[in-house]
Symmetry: C2
Subunit: 284 residues, 2 copies
């Protein structure tokens, strides 16, 4: 892997560039973004130079799409004439089935491998990027076919992900979308719904738990619009399951059944913390 | 105020004792708890000595009940023969209407003023108590009659609360319970329901937002049992309103109506943070 085009140099794209450098990548990292972002990315050391999409992709053996989902879909529709046949195109979008399907239709001349690093921060932008963003994080790969993981370009890319300290999780695109609907999109909407409901109260009695419970509610709709649009089916199912669980709690407020729910929830909450603090196995 | 009986010397009771000392209280702080807790409270400097309930209350001009709600209700039923007629009994229970009603029925010889400091920590017990726990926190008072705030004992108690840096919020007991059902009990059950639902998934794709969204789910049922039992009506209504909001989001996932919900939620989440970081007005 000699030349990487990072298309969209924000928090994720910038962190990808910084992590490459940190782990000894000696090739060129070419950024594709607005002029202001390219300047900031150069100052941060996240890329070596900026270029247009066509210029950057012309030389790249890895094309890393790290824009919002809608932009990734647009780029995938125009990328085919620009790519090298031995290149790998991958992406970091938070929903996968529409992206994988769009790549299958429009990207014929080179390989594609969908990806989703389970990493992020409240603060966006390349100014908040860091070489360690992927460390100990899960990194989903959603191959259309298992063989897509074993091409030379895919193996080279996966080696870098491992060097970053991320833990590879291979899963189908539809299954990925169902899983993140529950573990990521549902928590967002649960927090948004809570904060929106509380907007009706003039004076709030706010204990310390409420601050944490409404943290996700500060997220910008700009990011979430594309996620909601491209995963509405799975999110709708997750909301239905959540509503059923809440109805069960409501019907059992004064019963010992709630003790089991608290126990079950507490164990899951603890295992989520353990999973995120567990380091990747060396050499895995 | 010369002698204070702190009944239940855990996180809240211990912090009350420490805050009194920190702000110059020169009288006696008598703790009522199990022998192990009394030892820990003496080591922490939260009380001056331990005693039985009857001994402690016999001398006290302030009786501060800081046990779980069920224990507060039991003590209120047996306290009347022990109290001084000029004493004030107050409590720190997280639900109020049943406590206020129980005090009205069983505590005839001295004044009662329900209270609820909107302060807490994930870690319980006197070992985690601190003199600054109440600083910048709301402190609810739920008088059965406005005149209950103006007795000499109540004025003395309220002066201490202000010295601790807490912000007094006067509200009826039923209204308090309706408000905390939304702002405290609902967030707890929303987090418990989310984590319990996720327990079904064998492998979780867990981003950083999920850790925050499941923090409350680690709470122990021991604390919540009494809250759910003594506020089930208001909690049931809060859950119903929350479910309706979630259904609205589900029906509008692909519509711009979601943008309004995100905006409204974000503003509320920000105002919650501002309210909690805003210092009390001096002399208020």
């Amino acid at each position: 892997m000699h030349t990487v085009a990072i298309v969209g140099v924000g928090l994720i794209g910038g962190s990808f560039g910084l992590a490459l450098k940190e782990h000894g990548f000696a090739g060129q990292r070419i950024g594709v973004s607005s002029p202001g972002t390219i300047d900031a990315a150069l100052r941060a050391g996240a890329i070596d130079r900026g270029a247009t999409l066509a210029e950057a992709v012309h030389d790249a053996d890895l094309v890393y799409l790290a824009q919002p989902i809608g932009r990734i879909l647009s780029v995938l529709r125009e990328l085919d004439p620009m790519v090298r046949p031995d290149a790998l195109v991958t992406d970091a979008g938070s929903t996968k089935h529409l992206i994988v399907e769009t790549a299958r239709r429009h990207l014929r001349r080179c390989a594609f491998l969908g990806g989703h690093p389970m990493a992020g921060k409240e603060s966006r932008g390349v100014a908040n990027a860091g070489a360690d963003l992927f460390r100990n994080a899960q990194y989903c790969l959603t191959p259309a076919d298992p063989a897509d993981l074993e091409t030379p370009a895919a193996r080279a890319f996966r080696d870098w992900i491992r060097r970053f300290g991320a833990r590879e999780v291979v899963v189908g695109a539809e299954e990925h979308d169902r899983m993140v609907a529950l573990s990521s999109h549902l928590p967002q909407l649960a927090s948004t719904a809570l904060a929106s409901l509380l907007a009706d109260d003039e004076e709030l009695l706010a204990g310390p738990g409420l601050v944490g419970a409404t943290r996700l509610a500060m997220s910008s709709y700009d990011i979430w619009r594309d996620i909601l649009m491209t995963n509405s089916g799975a999110i709708s199912e997750a909301l239905t399951a959540y509503i059923q669980k809440l109805e069960y709690l409501r019907e059992n407020l004064r019963s010992r059944a709630l003790e089991e729910e608290f126990q079950r929830a507490s164990e899951t909450a603890q295992s989520i913390r353990q999973a995120r603090s567990q380091p990747a196995e060396p050499g895995q």
